[in-house]
Symmetry: C2
């Protein structure tokens, strides 16, 4: 008999970018490709767990065994993730939701006037923070922090604010890249593991840690 009996967990993964439109044509976004989300889903399935992906618009292929819900905006991502989370054991926030949206959205394409355009942006809801703050004691949340400066410090601040059980800290060079270089941080901000290599290798190591630290210890 194995010393770690198998628990089949259902894991929610947010993935890809979201878009926030100014008008019917122009929008704010980022270059997130969904590759990290796809690699995490593959690793989750490989371990015998279930993967549900809430994904912004991407061209990456998600593993056929994963259940994928497509969304466009951050509010849609939050709504879909919020509906799915209660039936999941945990959530991994690999998406890069667009975190600002125009205060006013035009329903006609804005015409150029030759003059500057002043755009007032407001923050969108923080998807992983909402999940982290609403999680039951038998649920867990793993966040990603992407920072250009003071990475470790800012990731730790985000981890506490978002009530994440583990935090993955990476830099902007991860976006739309084949490889990644991350630090996995524990609740107290200490580094559990530094992982470099293909996104699939990084995902395999992260799911290994999540499996042993968050899934197996659950009642």
């Amino acid at each position: 008999m194995s010393d770690a009996p198998h628990r089949r967990a259902k894991i929610l993964i947010t993935s890809g970018p979201t878009r926030q439109y100014l008008d019917p044509v122009r929008y704010l976004t980022n270059a997130s490709s969904g590759r990290m989300g796809a690699a995490l889903a593959a690793a989750v399935l490989q371990r015998g767990h279930d993967a549900v992906i809430v994904s912004g618009p991407v061209t990456v292929d998600y593993p056929p065994g994963a259940h994928v819900i497509d969304v466009l905006t951050t509010d849609e991502m939050l709504h879909a993730a919020g509906e799915l989370f209660p039936e999941c054991d945990g959530a991994i926030g690999a998406a890069a939701p667009c975190d600002y949206k125009p205060l006013q959205v035009s329903d006609q394409k804005l015409s150029k006037t030759g003059q500057p355009l002043v755009l007032e942006l407001i923050e969108t809801p923080d998807v992983i923070a909402v999940l982290g703050q609403s999680k039951r004691s038998d649920q867990w949340v793993v966040g990603f922090a992407l920072e250009t400066d003071d990475r470790h410090f800012r990731a730790t601040v985000k981890q506490q604010k978002k009530c994440c059980d583990l935090m993955v800290s990476n830099g902007p060079e991860a976006i739309d890249a084949a490889d990644n270089n991350v630090e996995l941080l524990d609740r107290d901000g200490s580094i559990i593991e530094t992982i470099s290599g293909s996104k699939q290798h990084v995902a395999d190591r992260l799911i290994h840690q999540i499996h042993h630290r968050l899934i197996l210890p659950c009642p």
Copy 2:
């Protein structure tokens, strides 16, 4: 002997979206897929002409016979197109360059503060207008106008402002779609042809018209 002897023309095609970054992660863009540009290049090659594509970031596959130059921003698209245009017979502006850019770009990822973010945007250069206004008498330029309202009127205004020999008018439903529905407008704003169907069908008809109206009559 054919009544229309073959002239091998070199045709510049701008294609795809461009991006204008606010900081190292966030940018303004649109959902242009590059499919119309790819279909136009295929039609150009099919007719025995040469195709040079200046393309923003897309995942579409351009035909292997086309020469592709990759760019990211509107200024880069203008620079590349401006360098190539003197050696081309004509240009087709199928790209959807991002036409606003932030006045100030942060070299660090902007941190969320909980407060609104006021973004001052200025217009980027109009790539096809610059080509149209600088073209020699033996060169031609075909523009695309994408409008949500007053399509025909606005396309005609754009045609004159951008010094385009022909103008293709379409709507936002063309973006990132398999099909398109366009009007081809002559210099005086009259409709030469209305074309609906797959982007390849639309491209074939447009290149047919360009071939007979702009390429063959050239000295």
